[in-house]
Amino acid sequence: MRNNRINTWLYRHKGARAALLLALPVLWLAVAYLGSLAVMLISSLWSVDSFTGNTVHSFSFTNFHTLLTQKVYGTIAIRSIGVAVAVTVIDGLLAIPIALFISKVLKPKFRSVVIALVLVPLWASYLVKTYAWRSMFSDGGVISWALKPFGIHGPGFGLTATTITLAYLWLPYMILPIYAGLDRLPNTLLEASSDLGASARTTFTSIILPIIYPAIIAGSIFTFSLSLGDYIVVKIVGGTTQLVANVIADNVGTAGNLPFAAAMALLPIATILGYLFVVRRSGALENF
């Protein structure tokens, strides 16, 4: 009987049903999670008492002053953005041919197989993949072994290794949107271009590229922001390289300066939001 009354009440009150569904998730995401982000933003104005190591909950711009005046942080910021851009360019250059091959050259029955080959490693453990590159770049590892006959030394751990490993990790995030974009592009359009006398190169630059441009941008959002926020890769294969994310991590961990870490974290947040703002006009965001 009671069950029935609840049922009737719920049936009549559509708003109540929606509110019941939304109560917990909103509490979790909007209050707890967004609240945490807000606390973090505020905490960037706090400081740490260098004597006691306790957090001082009074507002000052000391952290930002340090960030802006000490040259080393500017260098680290530029280096990090440079790595993120390099990773994005490498992934774009690798992804376009493979996406083009899968969608326009391969026969349909082989397509899903090759796409699966691209997708499966996306799900292999992130840490394991990074570790794999440690054994590639290490002294006496695969790369130095392969380059030995040519008398070249491998790059070892450092900025190059970091960039290659990051490009490796995020490559599927670039291939998939571009493949999806090319898959939607009708073949007849390309045939028309050829019939009208365009060479393959002209077709590529004036038909294919403009059409898959939003897809490339969508992929670049992943490669760019994932690279900017990563500190595990640079710790594993980066040697002594310093990037924004591992400076943040070190300030939370060893240095125990959470407010400074929070201030530093604003750099990737602002850069990523700025990037999203710039590419918003390309229409790439509608793909999500």
Partner: protein
């Protein structure tokens, strides 16, 4: 487009090159786990399963796997409940802030893990320090659940959009009440999406290291943390190779399974 033979061969070889780039490092790790030498000089001089046999002897692997499973199950359970609630609300009702909410769900996975990690770390410390409590395993569960919600949400939402509401309306027209309709009609129809979303959420949680690092208490060590902590110790390298190879194989299976089950999205929710 009429590609010349040369262009096709060029594209094919570029594709083959990229696929090798994707697979060679994984194969190297797998081969190294059978390399009996402790220093891993490449190429391996011989193959042996000696390190596989020592897997359980190594200190810390099994407890780390256990805490990873606990965290994964906890986070998946929370994500299943919250993600399903949001998916139903977004697909069936119109309410103020709907677009904001569907964006907010993506936030924890779109922002770098380090941001989510620090934000939660700051909040946990702000609330737990006055109570003299420390970060523990449950704080990791909270962190993981936050970014796992989105994969369940994506899977369930895709299913609900595809299903439409006519079956539920028919059920109510035939006299079933809300609970009966959910139990006999809606739930069976979304069950496989829940399984797929749950598997992906578990895989995502099992793999996570960054959020874990910032939300784990002292003495808590998940499997990725164990790998990271032992990576730099030359003594442990053989066991790390074995665990890594195991993970490559283990990870691929649940993801493949969830793709088979759901068939709603091609990228499986990580995109």
């Amino acid at each position: 487009m009429y590609l010349s033979r040369r262009a096709k061969i060029l594209l094919a070889s570029l594709t083959f090159g990229t696929l090798s780039f994707i697979y060679i490092p994984l194969i190297v790790v797998a081969l190294n786990s059978f390399n009996p030498s402790r220093t891993f000089s490449w190429p391996p001089q011989s193959l042996s399963t000696v390190w596989w046999g020592r897997l359980t002897e190594s200190n810390g692997v099994l407890p780390a796997i256990a805490s990873s499973i606990k965290v994964g199950l906890g986070a998946t359970a929370i994500a299943l409940i919250l993600g399903t609630c949001i998916a139903f609300a977004v697909s069936r009702y119109s309410f103020y802030g709907k677009n904001t909410l569907s964006l907010l769900v993506i936030f924890p996975i779109a922002l770098p893990g380090i941001i989510t990690g620090i934000a939660l770390n700051t909040t946990f410390h702000t609330f737990l320090d006055p109570l003299n409590k420390q970060l523990a395993l449950w704080t990791v569960v909270v962190g993981h659940a936050t970014f796992c919600i989105v994969v369940v949400y994506n899977n369930v939402l895709a299913r609900l959009r595809r299903l439409g509401q006519s079956l539920e309306e028919a059920s109510q027209d035939l006299g079933a009440n809300i609970f009966q309709t959910f139990r006999y009609i809606t739930f069976p129809l979304v069950r496989s999406a829940l399984v797929a979303g749950g598997l992906l959420a578990f895989a995502l949680s099992f793999d996570e290291i960054v959020v874990t690092t910032f939300t784990a208490g002292p003495g808590t060590e998940t499997l990725p943390q164990w790998i990271f902590n032992n990576l730099f110790r030359p003594n442990q390298a053989p066991i790390v190779n074995v665990v890594a190879t195991m993970l490559i194989v283990l990870f691929i299976f649940p993801v493949w399974l969830s793709q088979r089950i759901s068939q709603d999205g091609s990228a499986g929710g990580r995109l």
